[in-house]
């Protein structure tokens, strides 16, 4: 079971970091995260590992962990996806969603307003955040 799955032993995560309070512009930082031998390592799990073991200044959104609250949307390798539902590729680039004001790193709010006061649509869909 285990042998066939482990291709590489690390996930290389490139994250767009930006703390508007202390920095003028965003920059990429690269982290190496141990890859699960078995199981399902989502982008959220990768970020959690970085936050808890490498860099606690990382800002990201994480709550329901099952693709329902839609709070953790980010650009994963150029595509807007939910981080908690996306299994991390071996090389992954994570950026905040576009057209949002960055609060810290991957945490961003819609630009027009400081606070999200979106109208709620009947069905959740990922595209409404962009």
């Amino acid at each position: 079971m285990t042998e066939g799955i482990a291709k590489k032993d690390v996930i290389v995560a490139k994250i767009l970091r930006f703390d508007p309070a202390t920095e003028d512009e965003a920059h990429f930082e690269t982290y190496e995260v141990p890859k699960y031998e078995v199981g399902r390592q989502t982008v959220s799990k990768v970020l959690e590992y970085i936050f808890e073991n490498i860099d606690p200044s990382l800002g990201y959104y994480h709550t329901c962990n099952r693709g329902i609250c839609n709070g953790c949307v980010a650009m994963i390798n150029g595509k807007a996806e939910l981080m908690c539902m996306t299994e991390s590729p071996d090389e992954v680039t994570i950026e905040p969603v576009a057209h949002h004001r960055v609060i810290r790193d991957l945490v961003a709010v819609p630009e027009e307003e400081d606070r999200p006061r979106r109208r709620v649509t009947e069905r959740s869909s990922k595209s409404k955040y962009l």
Binding site: M1, C64, I68, R115
Partner: protein, 593 residues
């Protein structure tokens, strides 16, 4: 209204609601029905349904007595059911510890509230009804696409359309403000800026849910850190039966990555055989006939006993084996059961099913699912502090020692409505108390300390230590020694480690390290209340299992434990259970009774 006072951003409102999901949002909707009452609802999620337990109750049921379901919602249900039958089931499952006035209100108002939700645009699935163990009739009902999240969407639409209500996200509430024994508002941390914000209010409704994150595994989001409990305790609120916490052995600790609470548990519920680390099918010791097919409380206590007595599986749980099932049966059952329950969660469970077909076991551990105990309220959601209301999971008493399936969302809706209505009435007849700026400064002092310190304890490491300690000392299985150790450990943590918390990251906006530091202070506070409430209760009942007192004692222990902070100590007293119509049985019998 927003202005600056004492150097702080101050929001003035009539009703402040902390936590905006099923209970908080319902309270906000009901309170803002009165156009003269301003309502602000704050949440630490980025918006409504972006944090908390309701959003994870997407495929959970809502329990409504069938007669009302039939009469008010036109659902083709079993009309032999009645509010009385539902009430009786609740009291029996609660092992006669429920506050019967609260339970009666839940039962009677379940159908009218379900109807009200429908009138706001909520869609019920009126074709499927369920009766989980404990329900005599099929009175559990789902929302058409989801249950919890759909409720939030419906209520957000109403709140957004009203000029007198406002939802503010990214606000981590820290402390309540009181003045002359009455509520004056609350202090919160604006996560987007890292500023302390003051809410000056006539009354506050706490709707923050349970404190699941006191334990390492949770069926909810990990932000359920009992913030509402902790701030209410610090303000002098009373707590009702805090020793009753529901656990379910449904956390998949191996293989990793599918830690999504209830799904794996439900998918093959009743079909798997459980083994401990010695290969023993240990549930036979608890029930030689039903074995694994017993109720949640007994399952969780059985699993916790194996873990505590060093017979756990490799990753700290137990083995759930499917090897007795032919692989084509696993395949079919997996597909059939997933259709109803897991369709919209989007997880690919096929690798798990493949593992099962190969004959490999999954490892399960107890996750914390629900808090029966909580802030003590009366039927109108009032607490012992004038102006402070509570509703939903953070409020105790309605479920007694164990909760019936489907009762959580019903509790949120019924109690949220009650709290909202009475808070609005309270706001209309009183005026705002003055803000005591010393309290604001004191709150700033403890909450900003981790940011200001230059070295000390890492919040995430301390959180992990506390949760590990909590599951082994205040988990499903307890004894005197464990609980005394838990009280001593809470004291030690409060004196030594919590004041020492520090974050390496200093810039305040969305500083997660800081958030963890504050939340860790709160879970320690909740652990202290649980340990103090559980220690004197020398019998086993529902979700509280004392291995030193394994009998259910109806002669001496049909009473409620009320805990409260007095002079910096947690003091406990006993109160007779509020009884309206069902008289509890007498006598002693071995657990589970």
């Amino acid at each position: 209204m927003v202005n600056n006072k004492g150097g702080y951003r101050v929001y003035t409102t009539d009703v402040l609601i902390i936590g905006v999901e099923a209970a908080g949002a319902y309270a906000a909707v009901k309170a803002s029905e009165d156009e003269k009452v301003d309502v602000i609802a704050i949440t630490k999620g980025s918006d409504i349904a972006r944090a908390g337990a309701t959003v994870t109750a997407s495929h959970s049921t809502f329990a409504v007595e069938c007669k009302g379901l039939h009469d008010l919602l036109g659902a083709p249900t079993d009309t032999r059911d009645s509010p009385e039958a539902f009430f009786e089931d609740m009291i029996k499952e609660g092992k006669y510890l429920n506050d019967q006035t609260l339970a009666e209100s839940l039962v009677r108002e379940s159908a009218p509230r379900a109807r009200e939700l429908e009138s706001w645009g909520f869609e019920w699935n009126k074709k499927q009804f369920y009766a989980s163990p404990g329900h005599s009739y099929q009175r559990e009902i789902f929302g058409l696409d989801t249950t919890g999240p759909q409720m939030c969407r419906v209520m957000k639409r109403i709140l957004d359309s009203r000029p007198n209500s406002r939802i503010i996200g990214n606000m981590l509430a820290l402390d309540l403000l009181t003045s002359g024994g009455e509520i004056a508002g609350a202090v919160a941390l604006d996560l987007l800026t890292g500023e302390l914000v003051v809410f000056h209010a006539e009354c506050v409704i706490i709707a923050t849910g349970g404190a699941q994150a006191l334990y390492p595994y949770v069926s909810t989001g990990k932000e359920m850190t009992g913030d509402g409990h902790a701030m209410a305790y610090r303000a002098g609120a009373e707590f009702h039966d805090m020793e009753y916490i529901q656990f379910i052995p449904g956390e998949l600790v191996w293989p990793p990555g599918w830690m999504v609470g209830v799904q794996p548990f439900v998918m093959f519920d009743g079909l798997y055989w459980w083994y401990n680390g010695l290969g023993d099918r240990f549930m036979r010791r608890w029930d030689p006939v039903k074995i694994e097919d017993v109720t949640r409380d007994i399952r969780s206590i059985g699993v916790a006993t194996e873990v505590l007595e060093d017979r756990a599986s490799e990753h700290g749980g137990i083995y759930a084996s499917f090897a007795h099932l032919p692989s084509d049966v696993i395949d079919y059952v997996g597909k059939a059961r997933r259709r109803g329950w897991i369709s919209s969660s989007g997880f690919d469970y096929n690798p798990l099913v493949e593992m099962m077909k190969e004959g490999l076991a999954l490892e399960l551990a107890n996750y914390c699912h629900f808090w029966m105990g909580g802030i003590k309220i009366n039927v109108d959601g009032e607490t012992n502090i004038p102006g402070l209301f509570a509703g939903g999971e953070c409020a105790g008493g309605v479920h007694g020692a164990n909760r019936l399936s489907g009762g959580a969302l019903t509790q949120c809706i019924v109690q949220g409505a009650r709290a909202g209505i009475s808070a609005a009435a309270h706001a209309r007849k009183t005026s705002r108390s003055e803000v005591d700026w010393e309290q604001v400064e004191a709150c700033r002092e403890w909450s900003f300390r981790p940011l200001e310190r230059e070295d000390g304890t890492n919040p995430m490491e301390l959180r992990d230590q506390v949760t590990e300690f909590a599951i082994s000392h205040t988990g499903p299985v307890r004894d005197r020694e464990m609980l005394e150790e838990a009280i001593a450990e809470a004291d030690r943590l409060k004196k030594v480690d919590l004041p020492n918390l520090y974050c390496k990251t200093k810039s305040p906006a969305y500083n997660l390290e800081w958030v963890h530091a504050i939340q860790t202070v709160n879970i320690v506070q909740v652990m202290e209340i649980v340990a103090h409430s559980a220690l004197p209760v020398t019998n086993s009942r529902g979700a509280h299992y004392r291995r030193d007192y394994p009998e259910t004692d109806n002669d001496n222990w049909l009473k409620s434990v009320i805990a409260k902070q007095v002079d910096g100590r947690c003091e406990v007293r006993f109160e007779a259970v509020k009884i309206t119509s069902i008289t509890p049985p007498k006598g002693r019998r071995p657990y589970p009774g």
